[in-house]
């Protein structure tokens, strides 16, 4: 892990820039759709599940195409989608629902997100893989 070489420094910069964009979008969604302390955190649920769907789409394109820009995955995957989705906000939402005396909501939110996230990745991959294969080989 040497940040000194140009490739790594560019990658780190791409991750940072992407992370800023993704996090700003997450902040915007959270501000636009606040929820009560004991309520279901629909905003973060939607952010995390849609981010998972999009990483499925992205990874199908990146792994299926012969030539992809080397910064595509660091910028879009690690940066934008990594910054958009958040495990800490998810954990805090669960904790707050428990503290607000809504254990049913806490468990429903906990389970719904953790089940829907890999399912959304799968859906993104499944829908995109055939399209990339068809488009990639003329």
């Amino acid at each position: 892990m040497s940040v000194a070489d140009g490739g790594t420094a560019r990658t780190v910069a791409a991750v940072s820039a992407g992370g800023m964009l993704g996090s700003l979008a997450r902040y915007g969604v959270a501000e636009a759709f606040p929820h009560a302390p004991g309520g279901f955190g629909w905003a973060m649920f939607a952010v995390n599940v849609s981010g998972c769907l999009l990483i499925g789409v992205l990874m199908a394109v990146i792994t299926g195409r012969p030539r992809v820009h080397p910064l595509a995955r660091p910028f879009l995957g690690v940066g934008v989608l990594g910054g958009f989705t958040s495990f800490s906000a998810y954990a805090l939402d669960v904790q707050r629902a428990f503290q607000a005396g809504a254990p049913g909501v806490a468990v429903a939110y906990l389970v719904a997100t953790v089940v829907c996230a890999p399912a959304a990745v799968y859906a993104g991959l499944r829908v995109t893989r055939p399209l990339v294969r068809r488009g990639g080989r003329p």
Partner: protein
Amino acid sequence: MTAVLVLLGAAVGAPLRYLADQWARSRFGGGFPWGTLGVNVFGSGLLGLLAALPAGPGLMAFAGTGLCGALTTYSTFGYETLRLLEDGARWHALANVAASVTAALAAAAAGAAAAHFIAVLP
């Protein structure tokens, strides 16, 4: 102003996650997503601490929404879990989900407990 603080925190958090993942891969190999698990647990603990202090709106925007938000990730966690499933490593996938959720929640609770301890310090 709040948005700028979120941006600044994310500018630090996202590359920290990347570097932690690179380090974990070089240290433990790529078989199990230790890097993502580590940052998700650490970030959840730090956010639990900040939320329980409670930190002011500025610090919360920078370190909570920005840094912890970007340091932790759900998309990479979801992708790595699905990759383990696709590779036939079902138990690793299940272990990743169980460990991530329980350890992150435990860390958030520990962070909150630490905040309450800090609050009673003279």
